[in-house]
């Protein structure tokens, strides 16, 4: 990888937006983020990640982007995952297990309908005062 200059930062930012931010006409329609800090992993986030991957393979869902991130803050409700469907607010799911993942994949990832009983809330956090 060649060294970056300042303009490259902007390019990466834009490219990233094109490729991984959900958008009309983009590669992905759904983004699944499994929260994998130590707290999440200790609560079983790896199994949750595998369960989502299994579902994606089973349904050959090529437009579902799966990724991980760190602790979402509410450690007592781990494992957690965030599902964002194109054009909709991201939804955080809490206290997940493999059975819940199956249902969430069917109804929300594939069907676009939030599984309310396992959802904590939608949207994201305040990053400013």
């Amino acid at each position: 990888m060649p060294k970056l200059n300042i303009k490259d930062l902007q390019k990466i930012k834009e490219k990233k937006k094109r490729t991984s931010k959900l958008r009309e006409g983009g590669d992905y329609k759904v983004k699944v983020t499994v929260h994998m800090g130590t707290c999440g992993i200790a609560a079983g986030a790896r199994e949750i990640m595998n369960a989502f991957i299994n579902e994606i393979e089973k349904h050959e869902s090529s437009d579902v982007l799966i990724t991980n991130s760190g602790c979402a803050g509410l450690c007592s409700k781990e494992p957690m995952a965030t599902i964002e469907v194109l054009g909709q607010a991201p939804v955080k799911y809490v206290d997940l297990d493999e059975k819940k993942v199956k249902e969430i994949f069917q109804k929300h990832v594939m069907g676009g309908n939030v599984v309310k009983k396992n959802a904590l809330g939608k949207g994201s956090e305040k990053t400013d005062a």
Binding site: K16, T67, S69, A119
Partner: protein
């Protein structure tokens, strides 16, 4: 705190990550500028909100109260928008977007209490980026602060920006970061070498914010360090991180590799000619290496021991060169300050502490997790709003802030605005931000012992005060925990603590005594209780605790033993265990407030054992099987003792005295014995025959009860001694109802709850209207309301706080609601109105919960303009009672408190007049049945010592169970199916217009199953 000001319009600017990277904060600034320009700043408030989810349409602006959505705003739109919409009132359609409505929406994250008050700066990317992908970080504006620092700012400018921001060290000490940077910047280095270090040696119990930050957003730390290196002129940086944080270690290494790949670390970074690189040094997990000089020694490969300062690392750090050390969170705060400016950062927080602080909140709260809040938020808001209060709604006790170096703060500090100075003032410290929340089941002596054990293990041993002093302190604490403590130990502990603090070499030793000092300061009574009374009220210190349930019982019922006997099916013996200490087991099985269940360890992970109902089952079972043993009178060999009042305190004292061979006589002014048990508690809770049967047994044993005899009228109190009574126990209760103190309450239709209950329960002819309001949240209010409901009234209870704060038994509140009685929470009556001399309506005011009081409950405060009227014909104020001391007729010299209660020595119940003892509500004011029984028991023991010519003072020794019952064997399958039973109750339809008992009690099978669920803590606490 700033006062809530009314604005006619709120502009909610989305500050979700996506919108921020779309420059939403610039939109906010532009809005504010424009609003000011138009002179609207007193009418319109601009606030930032969390993500609304329509990120692809951001930056978003929602206008409230009109609920108009503007989308894809640009700075150039703002002047037009402000003028048209906010000044002239014409919404700008071309900028609008209306989201499709959802049928039943799930909550928006930023409306959820846990997230609502949080403001993310250090944790700005948490949960939204892939920490192992540098592009994710860059896409969220990552490394743009570095670009700015390298191209637009001189090192001096960077430093002054950090100085102006007010950023202080987040590792605990709170030293101003900019000043530290300036020291290193200005320091001379012989060969020009300077170093910077990131301290990620987080090791205090309960703290994990640094770990989480490194795991969630490692590049934010690298970027902060790069900017710092540029400002201070360092070429090499080190991240000192614990090897026991494998994931954090892995992610920071990946981040460094990726940054090197991109040339963001290394030579000529971003084509600016600036060179800098970072290495990771793994720490082996010694807590002392969090101390900066020890850390530096460890980085150099030497033994991790601290050295005296000065010289400070800024002069002589790594390899003798100027070195700057900052904590993980401090570094993570740097990029946003550079991007957004010091003014923005310093606008957040308090006068001396700027920005936000990340706390890891663990312990007995419902929501545990990482919380980033503006400095100055109160402790109570973190514990009760963000973390949703104490688990199982138990009582809050304390928060240990700053781990083993910090101190605990108590309920009186819940309103404390959290910043460096405020925490130091109360003896605690910010520390790295670990918060351990403790509930009533925590023993503070044990807590101090725990943290000191940690510090002892982590002391490096270099200096004597820390090496020798901490173990001595620990020995004393152990002694106290084991019941061998002496009162002098407290002074010794305090002296040792102060000396270690003053003389230890480094921060570890200087702060290690803090948990002891603060617990001594705020919870001294707990130490005294261990030392003097051999009692650990929290039920933790095993040498003093027979079992948590027995320990919690005011009369020390051996609950663990009778539960074990129920599990074996030996109900007879189980009830006998109860009767060792309790003449009223049937009564207690129905009305006890069961503090045993609050302490029950099964309740820690599951629900507590249903101990009260098990007791109730035993007495029901005995009755239905006709197995009740005949009580044999005890031969009377000692003096006559007079007892005034036949409530639970009087009955208990009489029973205990009769057992010892005295001749007690109870004088009761009513026609029946039992006091409030007979005429105050309605029959649907406590059937009369159940009570009478136990009173009969007490009389059988040798207690005489003279009903219809009023002391002060029929007999004067001083005459009792002439009638050959050698001692006197006063247990007359607290029966004078407190007035509301509102205008208009002295009118027909306002009735005394106790009079009402008495009239109904004794004569069955209480008068009640059709629309009744009961004021209050205690058991008397609930009893009055449920009685009125059974008499056909439409009943509403008004209570000024919320359900959580109601003092009535929880099961009573639940049944009340089931019966369809309305409870208006947060409501206070302020005036009563009459028509033709009769109550016609009341004016009520809604309340909101404000600051915390010393009981950790929030004070209700009136909401202006929320008054409303309620049409009623009966008002029952049940907000408290006081004792009636008229019966004394001025005939004794008894000391009376300002609350009109009798003053006694709480250890012995003796009054200031020899031979006269008092206990129960007449001493304490309204309390529980069991507290009254306890007073009766203690008084009887004191009377015995008094009459036998012994010293009245009590001696205390640790309690142990009398029985040693082997546990029943329960298979894992059976165990997994056991759960706390729902107590069968009479259906609501069958309760109307009658007073049939509501609780139907446990069946034999239910009781045995429930008893098997017991963890048998008594076996553990037995000792060897």
């Amino acid at each position: 705190m700033e006062k809530e000001k009314a604005y006619r319009m709120h502009l909610m600017v989305c500050a979700g990550t996506a919108c921020v990277s779309n420059n939403s904060f610039k939109i906010k600034e532009a809005l504010e500028k424009e609003i000011k320009k138009q002179g609207l700043e007193n009418e319109i408030l601009v606030v930032t909100t969390g993500c609304n989810g329509f990120c692809e349409r951001g930056p978003l602006l929602v206008v409230q109260p009109e609920n108009i959505f503007y989308q894809k705003l640009e700075e150039k739109d703002i002047p037009y928008l402000v003028e048209e919409h906010f000044l002239k009132g014409r919404p700008v359609e071309k900028l609008m977007y209306t989201p499709p409505k959802e049928k039943s929406p799930i909550p928006v994250l930023s409306d959820i209490n846990f997230f609502k008050k949080q403001v993310l700066i250090a944790l700005r990317n948490r949960g939204t980026i892939d920490p192992e992908n540098i592009d994710d970080y860059i896409a969220n504006d990552g490394y743009s602060a570095l670009a700015k620092a390298l191209t637009e700012m001189k090192p001096e400018q960077i430093i002054s920006e950090i100085k102006n921001s007010g950023l202080r060290g987040r590792g605990g000490a709170g030293f101003p970061t900019g000043m530290k940077w300036e020291f290193v910047h200005n320091a001379n280095s012989s060969n020009g070498e300077k170093y910077i270090v990131c301290n990620a040696d987080e090791g205090d119990p309960g703290a994990y914010m640094d770990r989480s930050l490194v795991e969630a957003d490692p590049h934010s730390i690298l970027e902060g360090m790069l900017i710092g290196a540029r400002a201070m002129g360092a070429k090499q940086g080190y991240i000192y991180i614990r090897n026991e944080y494998p994931l954090a270690l892995k992610r920071i290494r990946i981040a460094i590799d990726q940054a090197r790949d991109y040339g963001l670390l290394g030579e000529n970074i971003l084509d600016s000619g600036f060179n800098f690189d970072i290495n990771v040094v793994r720490g082996a997990g010694a807590f002392v290496c969090g101390e900066e000089t020890a850390l530096l020694a460890s980085v150099e490969g030497r033994l991790g021991e601290p050295r005296p300062r000065p010289p400070y690392p800024a002069q002589k750090g790594l390899w003798g060169k100027p070195t700057n050390i900052n904590n993980v969170e401090t570094w993570a705060n740097v990029p946003p300050i550079i991007t957004r400016g010091s003014k923005w950062f310093s606008s957040i927080g308090t006068g001396t502490s700027k920005g936000t602080k990340v706390f890891s909140v663990v312990g007995k709260v419902k929501n545990t997790g990482l919380v980033e809040v503006p400095m100055g938020l109160s402790l109570g808001e973190i514990v009760f709003d963000i973390c949703d209060g104490i688990e199982k709604d138990r009582k809050f006790k304390a928060v240990q802030i700053g781990g083993p170096s910090g101190g605990c703060v108590s309920a009186e500090h819940l309103n404390l605005p959290l910043d460096y100075e405020q925490l130091t003032k109360v003896g605690s410290m910010m520390g790295s931000g670990g918060m351990v929340v403790l509930d009533e089941n925590t023993c503070m002596v044990d807590l101090a012992h725990y943290f000191l054990t940690f510090s002892k293990g982590e002391s490096c041993g270099k200096c004597t005060p820390c090496r020798e002093g901490i173990p001595r302190m620990l020995e004393i604490l152990t002694k106290i925990k084991e019941g061998r403590g002496e009162m002098e130990d407290l002074d010794l502990l305090e002296n040792l603590a102060k000396n270690i603090k003053a003389t230890a070499l480094c921060g570890l030793g200087n702060t290690a005594p803090n948990p002891v000092l603060t617990t001594l300061r705020y919870f001294r009574d707990e130490y005294i209780s261990h030392i003097k009374y051999k009692k650990c009220h929290a039920g933790v210190c095993t040498d003093l605790v027979p079992s948590p349930c027995q320990n919690a019982c005011p009369i020390e019922t051996e609950a663990s033993s009778y539960i074990a006997l129920i599990a074996q099916g030996d109900f007879k013996k189980a009830l006998e265990v109860n009767r060792w200490v309790n003449p009223l087991p049937s009564v207690c099985g129905r009305v006890c407030h069961h503090p045993c269940e609050t302490r029950c360890r099964a309740g820690e992970v599951d629900k507590p054992i249903s101990i009260r109902s098990l007791k109730g089952f035993l007495t029901d079972y005995e009755k239905s099987n006709g197995q009740k043993p005949k009580v044999e009178p005890v031969p009377q060999k000692y003096e006559k003792v007079a007892i005034i009042g036949s409530g639970p305190a009087g009955l208990m004292a009489g029973w205990e005295l009769a057992k010892r061979g005295y001749q007690p006589t109870i004088f009761e002014s009513e026609s029946v014995a039992g006091g409030v048990l007979s005429w105050g508690i309605p029959e649907y809770r406590l059937p009369k025959d159940v009570l009478q049967s136990e009173i009969d047994d007490i009389m059988e044993m040798g207690v005489e009860i003279q009903t219809d005899t009023t002391i002060g009228k029929d007999i004067q109190i001083n005459d009792l001694f002439d009638q050959d009574y050698k001692a006197l126990f006063i247990a007359t209760g607290a029966l004078v109802n407190s007035k509301l103190g509102i205008p208009g309450e002295d009118t027909q239709g306002v009735i005394d709850p106790l009079e009402f209950l008495k009239q109904y329960n004794l004569d069955k002819k209480a008068k009640i209207g059709k629309k009744v309001a009961v004021i209050g949240g205690g058991n008397t209010a609930i009893d009055a309301a449920r009685t009125a409901w059974r008499l056909g009234a439409d009943v509403t209870i008004l209570y000024r706080r919320t359900k959580l704060e109601m003092p009535a038994n929880e099961e009573e509140i639940d049944e009340t609601l089931k019966e369809g009685i309305k409870i208006e929470f947060l409501t206070l009556p302020v005036e009563a109105y009459s028509e033709n001399g009769k109550l016609s309506k009341i004016k009520c005011q809604k309340m909101s919960l404000g600051e915390f009081d010393r009981s950790a409950r929030r004070r209700p405060q009136p909401i202006k303009g929320s008054e409303y009227e309620l049409e009623i014909d009966t008002l029952i104020p049940a907000i408290g009672q006081k004792p009636d001391l008229n019966f004394l007729q001025g005939n004794t010299k008894l000391n009376i408190s300002k609350w009109n209660t009798l003053e006694v020595d709480p250890e012995t119940m003796e009054t200031n007049v020899p031979g006269i003892f008092a206990g129960g509500d007449v001493v304490t004011g309204p309390a529980t049945v069991l507290e009254a029984m306890r007073a009766g028991k203690i008084a009887s023991e004191s009377i015995h010592r008094y009459l036998r010519g012994e010293s009245i003072s009590r001696e205390y020794s640790p309690k142990k169970p009398r029985l040693d019952i082997p546990p029943v064997q329960v298979s894992p399958e059976e165990l997994s199916e056991l759960k706390r039973p729902e107590i069968p109750t009479l259906s609501v339809e069958k309760r109307k217009s009658n007073f049939k008992e509501v609780e139907l009690g446990l069946t034999k099978e239910m009781a045995m199953k429930e008893a098997k669920r017991c963890l048998r803590c008594d076996l553990e606490n037995k000792g060897e």
